[in-house]
């Protein structure tokens, strides 16, 4: 028996220490061109941390919502650059990754109070809009699956509401801007569109104003004072015994106790 085999046998026979990490498969990835072996199943973000990177920027919610961790990657054998949020995409063997968490794209300054719903507001603040050649690279780069080019087209057509609607799920990661032939700053334009839409175009929720007025007028004071004065166990019981709207309830459902409706 060779010395090597002996060692292997000894290692197998030895009881595992409790502190020893469970066996994991490692996959090779390249972060900014340097090879690392990282555990399979890790997200790109965790893989980078495993490789020694420490994020003080380019990392936010870790839940695919904040848009802070835009990342470009390419898989072996494919010329295409692909995009993902580092906190969402898991590693694949041989992939090259580079985080591009921020773009120094120009963001127009404006006085919000003076903005109107006119299409020209967007044209004036972002004249680059008209540099779009409809190449659709922005759409292909969107990790949110937004039809980015359609939203740009809507802005050109003066349809601010349409742009706000199409780009509603934009998390402003900026990857579209990174791929743009015309050097547009789509994500900033869409934010402007959503702000104009929300403040100048979308119908006001009148019932909200009514309710605010009712609260200010003291309609719920007695109820709230009562709750504040309650002992903790009374409050818990009240909460547990509350009437919950059934899942199958229709629009006309109302609770049995209608004191405050």
């Amino acid at each position: 028996m060779s010395a090597k085999k002996k060692t292997e046998k000894a290692a197998k026979a030895a009881p595992k220490k409790e502190t020893e990490a469970p066996e994991v498969n490692l996959v090779p990835i390249y972060v900014m061109g340097k090879r690392y072996e990282v555990p399979e199943g890790f997200t790109l973000m965790k893989a980078m941390e495993h490789a020694g990177y420490k994020f003080i920027r380019g990392c936010g919610c870790r839940g695919g919502t904040c848009g802070a961790c835009g990342t470009v990657y390419r898989k072996p054998g494919d010329y295409r650059l692909q995009v993902a949020l580092a906190c969402q995409k898991t590693v694949e063997p041989g992939m090259h990754i580079t985080q591009i968490p921020f773009f120094p794209a120009n963001r127009a300054l404006f006085e919000f109070e003076k903005l109107t719903e006119a299409p020209e507001e967007v044209f004036k603040l972002y004249p680059e809009l008209f540099r779009c050649v409809a190449c659709n690279a922005c759409t292909k780069a969107c990790p949110q699956g937004i039809e980015v080019m359609d939203a740009v087209s809507a802005l050109k057509q003066g349809n601010i509401a349409g742009a706000a609607e199409i780009a509603f799920e934009c998390i402003q990661c900026g990857l579209c801007t990174g791929r743009c032939f015309g050097e547009l700053m789509q994500y900033h334009m869409f934010q402007l569109a959503r702000r104009i839409y929300g403040s100048r175009i979308a119908p006001r929720a009148e019932h909200l104003a009514d309710m605010t007025e009712a609260i200010d007028g003291g309609r719920y004071d007695e109820c709230l004072d009562g709750l504040i004065a309650m002992k903790e166990n009374e409050l818990k019981k009240l909460y547990q015994d509350r009437e919950v709207e059934p899942v199958t309830a229709g629009e006309d459902w109302t609770p049995k106790d209608r004191t405050y409706l």
């Binding site: 299409p119 050649v133 409809a134 190449c135 659709n136 039809e147 080019m149 050109k156 003066g158």
Partner: protein, 306 residues
Amino acid sequence: MDTMKLAYYPGCTLKTKAANLEEPALASLEALGFRLDEIDRWNCCGAVYSLADDDLIHQVAPVRNLIRARQQGNDRVVILCSFCLNALKRANLLMKGDAEKRDTLNRFMDEEPEYTGEVRVLHLLEVLRDDIGWETLSKKVKQPLRGLKLAPYYGCTLLRPREVAIDNVENPSVMQDFLAALGATPVEFPESTRCCGSYQVVGNPGDIPGYARDILRSAGRRGAEGLVLTCPLCDYDLGKGQQELVKKEGFPGMPLFYFTQLLALALGLDPAVCRFDLNFGDPEAFLQEKGVISAEPTPQKTGGKA
């Protein structure tokens, strides 16, 4: 007439500054038993057809619109703006006739279905001429524009280059026939197919009055009381130019109309659909004087360029 659906490509300007070109067209077509069915997800036409032989990236925008029209099962698409017409029609010819460039463009747009120029690109005037016919149109006229001496202004993009012209390049008649069908008196003038200055004036705004002077004065000398347009850029250049001429040269002023506004009026539709608030000058005063519209003010929407 049965209700007929026509795939429709509007173009960006018709949705903003030139709603007075689009809105009367939509109302008129409906009155004629057609329905303009706006294609989904259209983008800018590219505005200017790129003449550089190897500049294919600027063909992507017009071709993508043709693909959208095709995707919705259309074999023809109608356009009102003559600039959009020109860009889409020429890009379509490229896709039809140049196998190598077609292949390059199709491969670039790998997210779209293959396109080989199947859609026919038409101007609304062609639909009125060929689908409806002048005789039928004249029978649908409820308020003939009698006594209106109007000069058709073709500009460039309806007729040039030859391979995309909607009519005889040298001697077009489609707009005269259109105006005659509406009961108006067409006034021919030699500058009818002269360039308005197009987008060249963007860099040289001082040139605008020069283009407008030749065109408007020529039409006026031949007795025209108004000029009929198909293109928002012609409207801008001739409108802006006219303002200068009125201010500095004592030009009496000539109302500018989109052909679709005249169509709507002749079909007896509510003048409010014409959106005269977006016209240069005061065409309503002229129409009132001629008894085409009543003196009551039409409800004005927001906007207005003058």
